[in-house]
Structure formats: structure tokens, C-alpha cells
Symmetry: C2
Subunit: 217 residues, 2 copies
Amino acid sequence: MPDFTPTPRSRVKRLNQRALYDTETVHRLIDEIGTGSVGYVIEGQPYVTPTLVWREGERLYWHGSSASRMLKTVRGGVPVCVNVFHLDGLVLARSGMHSSVNYRSVSLFGNAALVEGDAAKEASLKAFLDRFVPGRWDDLRPVNQQELKATMVVSMTIEEASAKVRTGHCADDEEDYALDIWAGIVPIRTVIGEPESDPRNKPGLTPPAYLDTVAIG
Amino acid sequence: MPDFTPTPRSRVKRLNQRALYDTETVHRLIDEIGTGSVGYVIEGQPYVTPTLVWREGERLYWHGSSASRMLKTVRGGVPVCVNVFHLDGLVLARSGMHSSVNYRSVSLFGNAALVEGDAAKEASLKAFLDRFVPGRWDDLRPVNQQELKATMVVSMTIEEASAKVRTGHCADDEEDYALDIWAGIVPIRTVIGEPESDPRNKPGLTPPAYLDTVAIG
């Protein structure tokens, strides 16, 4: 599988020792994090819309209502940038200058297209739910045609991608290590909580075991 | 304090019963969440850069290296959209259609400008650190002029803003409540972990008490 080749659009300018362009890293970050910020342009004005994203092979997917401005715009094949990001910690140095954050970030560039046809759309929605709540789709009341019509799924071939990851402690100026200042990391984690049952559930229903497999962030 | 007036740029199109334009909500979401996705345009191509954001009065701030492409672009006064978002839970309905997510989101529109002058820049950086690690700034080795030069701070008057918040359980089709399908919420939370000390700390240094006040997400 070929890796991504940075161009002026996707090449990381700042701290490029943190930059990664290999397919495995790009795909892994998308698969781990699960949230994305979709950037698009309407008449020169940028917009950023947050959404859940998932991947099938070389393509990034997201979905929404057929009435969504974001989806109506990006389905037209305009240039799109999707940033997938997770903040992993505050890195507290002995100076402001070297204080930093740990994070995982990947920017994905391409042009989105509609997933067309009820069967393809339904398969995508199943893949979506399987990403976030594996096993859930098969438990649900089947989707109907009216619901499919009200839902839009788009996908984007990832033409270019650049990932940027920071881990570990600060890199302070050498002389600052002698200062009596505590330095370290304040970790930040996304945690999946205990399921809260809908008060309108039928008596006797309990949270399904597959909820333990939910992984985001 | 006047609230934000939605225009075609900022009016929430979809599920507009979730939309909020009042200043108090917009400011509260910025202050709570702390991360933002900065959207900007270079020659028709959208870019989205994640960063930490903070607020002083009516203005949104963020910072970075003077070499940052994002900052070099937005300091020119071009239109910017910053989305501040937190995913709060998966809302599992009895149908795919009514499955949803709980979240807090606010999109902020304006034009960014450089914070100019060493004193103003330093005051902004102090405000930044006070937002994320209250009390930290005063512990640090003082910033020097070379470091200030290497750092860029921008601020943006929030000209327009629209917030969108979803909480609570699903709203299923009435007949689906009779189905033997568990429904509920899988909460998603950002958790601040225990501080990890830099192995190069001087002996005897312990994590400062103000780390307990870190709040993000």
C-alpha cells in the first residue's frame, strides 16, 4: 500500500520531526479517534462542522441529514479538509516556551462524493455503526426507505494526508532543568462511561455486552 | 450584553430546536471545552488546524509558532471559522434513524488579528496558561524577548456565533418503544489523569496543587 506523498497542501511546516505520512499511521489515527472536523468553503467563507468519521479501506466516510448544509456542499465534489484530533495531555515545562500538549492529529484532503443507491447507503450505515458500537446494527429495527432517503452518506478518497503526533515530556532549555520548578504531564483521556438506560425501555432489558467494546478517542 | 444575531452564515439549518445564539451559552461552551478547530482558506483550499483556544471578553484567542502556516494566514484578517466541540455520548435508539450523539458545539465566525507588542503578547500568554493551568504562569522561568518573538498570538472578535447542544435520551418512533431493544446513552467524558512527573525533575519536587483545577472538555 503506497504511503502519502506530501505536497505544499499537506506538508507539515512546523515541527516537522513530528510529521508522519505513512498509510498505517494515518489509518490508525482515523480508526482510533473517530471524531472529525470537516472544513469546506462556501463563497470564500470557511466552515468547520464536527462529525463522526469512519474509514473503509482508502476512503473516509461521514454521514448526516439530507438537509445538512455541510453535506449538501461537500457532495458537490468541492475540496474538503477533514482534521481528526485528540488531545492527550498538557506538557508542563519549566518555561512557557517549552510548555506544550501531547496529541494525535491527522489532516485528510480530498473531494467528497455521495454514496448512491439504497443498498450501498445501508451498507455504509451498518459499517458506521459497527465502527462505533460493534454488533448494534443487527439488534435494531430495520431501516426503511424513507429513513434512507432522509440520510446522506458521503465518502472521500484520501488523496493526501499528514499526521502529527506528540508524546512524552517537555524538552526544556538545558539550564532550566536546574530550576526548582516541577515539570511533567497532565494526561487527558476520553473515557467511556457506564451505560444509562432509557427510562422507556421495556422491563427486563439490560445493556448489551457489546457496549463494552465501544472505543473512541 | 447583546446576543448574537444569526445570518445565513451562522444560522443553524438542521434541527434548529438545538440551536442557541445567546452570548452566555456561546461563552460558556468556549470556556468549558478549551479545544478548537480553526478553519481557513488558502487559494480556495480549506484547512482545519486544531489548537487550544481561550476567551477574553468578546474575543477568542489562540497562539502558536511564528512559523505556523495557520497563524501566518489568519493574521492577515481573512475570514475564519473556529468550531469548538465536545462529544458527550452515544445515544442508542431502537432504530438507526434515531440513534444520535450528545454533544456541545459552537461555531465562531470572524477575522483574526495579531496581538501586537511584547507586553500585550505576554499578557495574553499569561491569560492562556491561567485558563488551562491556573497559577502555573507565576511558577515559570520568565519569558524572554526571543521567545516572545518566536510566538504568535491571534485574537478574533466573535462577530457571529451559533451553538448547538444535544442532551438526553433518544426520541424513537412511538411504535418502536414496544420493541425488545435496549436503548440508552453511552456517556463519553474527558478525564484529567494523575500528573506524571518529568524524570528530570529536581529531587523533592512534587506536583503543584493547582493541577487539581485543570478543566478541559
